[in-house]
């Protein structure tokens, strides 16, 4: 399932996938895979992305 909230949060900060990837210390393709729903990140990576985007885990990754 696509992670549209992540994509929106990233776009709201005018960040490219590469910039978010660099901040989270992963490859751009990993961020792309998470946004497309092709990969489920570990909790460690989720936290890293949340900190970079200034959001909570619930806001970005909770299916609710």
């Amino acid at each position: 399932m696509k992670n549209l909230r992540l994509k929106s949060a990233r776009a709201a900060l005018d960040m490219s996938q590469q910039q978010l990837a660099d901040a989270a210390c992963v490859s751009r393709q990993t961020i792309n895979a998470i946004e497309k729903g092709d990969y489920n990140p570990s909790i460690k990576l989720c936290i890293s992305i949340c900190k970079t985007l200034g959001k909570t885990l619930d806001e970005l990754f909770w299916e609710g």
Binding site: K7, A11, Q17, Q29, P41
Partner: protein, 199 residues
């Protein structure tokens, strides 16, 4: 004895030339490639799957090679060549699976530098294998048996396959980046579009 010495010297010279070229490429490139073994979690998972595929390839080849050896009376290759073919096949599988899952290079490595290096290695092996086909040189096939001199040809094929996979992947990535850039320019959010699809 002199033949073995010549063989060993040949290998040493080839390795020395490769190292020299690698150092020259690093020096000449504007951005010093940051090589390292840092793969992110997704890449590590993908590499694990690639290792599994390569292992199964090697296992299957080994079984087929042994079976063929038992069934066919006449040898088709010497032992070193037989083993090398297995190694090359499994390497090709591993690298290709990694490349198509964006897990071959770490996210800190520069692909341009690696491509240049692989082109050089492919050409080097290509030249040596062409020389082996020329009259007056040691033949690759002797009395219907593929000899160890085919190793250069095998390596040339391996690196050609790897380079082809890298180029295909690069093209696909550029298309994907164009789509992402177009979406960003249009300012469309997937939420609005995909919402209609119930995603």
């Amino acid at each position: 004895m002199s033949y073995i010495l010549g063989f060993a010297v040949g290998i040493i010279v080839a390795v020395a030339i490769t190292i020299a070229v690698v150092l020259l490429i690093r020096k000449s490139s504007n951005k010093v490639p940051i090589t390292g073994e840092k793969y992110d979690e997704r890449q590590k998972l993908a590499r694990g799957k690639a290792f599994k595929a390569a292992y199964l390839t090697l296992l299957t080849y080994g079984l087929l090679y042994g079976l063929l050896d038992m069934v066919i009376d006449k040898k088709w290759c010497d032992s070193l060549t037989g083993m090398t073919i297995g190694v090359v096949l499994s390497l090709a599988v591993f690298v290709t699976v990694c490349i198509f899952n964006d897990a071959y290079l770490s996210f800190k490595e520069k692909p341009g530098y690696v491509i240049k290096l692989f082109i050089f290695i492919a050409l080097l092996n290509g030249v040596v294998s062409v020389m082996n086909f020329l009259p007056g040189h040691n033949a690759i096939i002797v009395n219907g048996i593929l000899t160890y001199r085919s190793v250069n040809l095998l390596l040339f094929i391996l690196f050609t396959v790897i380079l082809t996979a890298m180029l295909i992947k690069r093209r696909r990535d550029r298309k994907d980046e164009d789509i992402v850039d177009a979406e960003a320019r249009d300012g469309h959010s997937d939420g609005r579009r995909d919402g209609h699809r119930g995603e």
